[in-house]
Symmetry: C2
Subunit: 156 residues, 2 copies
């Protein structure tokens, strides 16, 4: 993965994923709060990632996280495999600034789906990304259970 740092544009449209049946009611205020928490967690991890530190993502990923990025032959399963991948690039990624574009959070009970487009600005070129993160709340803590990074229009 080559992600890239610093400038963040964060418009925050909330998706219309109302409280699913079988869970407690979720008010609009609760949803806004949750969306803000999720986006802040993602930004914090990205800020560290773009300075070469993958621990921000590792600390908020669940044991059963699954992961896709364009460098891999197939889906990667579990925090141990993700840790091996991230440790292999520790200290090697330095991004001047990034834009996190148009984040949307769809909340369904204790699951939250964050999607956004992303631009990393590097010394040689800028990279454009699509990203989906699925967070799960357990014992009051949100953790990532699915990450999918891909190149926007890779063959353009």
């Amino acid at each position: 993965m080559r992600r890239t740092t610093i400038f963040i544009v964060a418009l925050l449209p909330l998706a219309g994923c109302t409280a699913p049946s079988g869970t407690e009611a979720v008010t609009t205020g609760d949803k806004k709060d949750t969306a803000a928490v999720i986006i802040a967690m993602e930004r914090s991890a990205l800020d560290r990632w773009t300075k070469g530190d993958p621990s921000g993502f590792l600390e908020i990923s669940a044991p059963d996280v699954v992961y896709f990025d364009p460098s891999l032959e197939r889906r990667l399963d579990g925090i141990e495999a993700l840790t091996r991948l991230y440790e292999s690039v520790r200290g090697q990624i330095h991004i001047d600034r990034y834009e996190l574009l148009n984040p949307k959070v769809q909340i369904c009970g204790d699951a939250a789906v964050l999607t956004f487009n992303f631009i990393s600005y590097g010394p040689e070129k800028n990279n454009h990304w699509n990203c989906t993160e699925v967070y799960r709340r357990r014992d009051g803590h949100w953790r990532i259970i699915q990450t999918h990074w891909s190149i926007t229009q890779p063959f353009k």
Copy 2:
């Protein structure tokens, strides 16, 4: 999107996403059933897609679905936008066979995260994909609220 048909390999490892706090308990049996339902829905839609019919996906996508694929400049939001995209390719996609590889379903209350790798076999070349689908259950029906298709190792 270029997806491709018919032969499906379906090993079905269930993710360790236990019942989240605040929702009803989910037994292992329930989880297996849900995973089987989700994967069957995806296969059914893929079978139609690979014969040029996008309605299979449209019929199981929620009004607030969000969508990424490698042809798009940015995330696409909502069933109307997805319908326009899919109608633009109706009848144009014909895939000989496909493999749906190693599907995993992570269930969190009324959300289910399906991830898999995918190979489409066409007359000119084979394409390898990463895919994440997030399904949401409402009123007893599962519908897709997030789709992310990307190319596996696009620059290889």
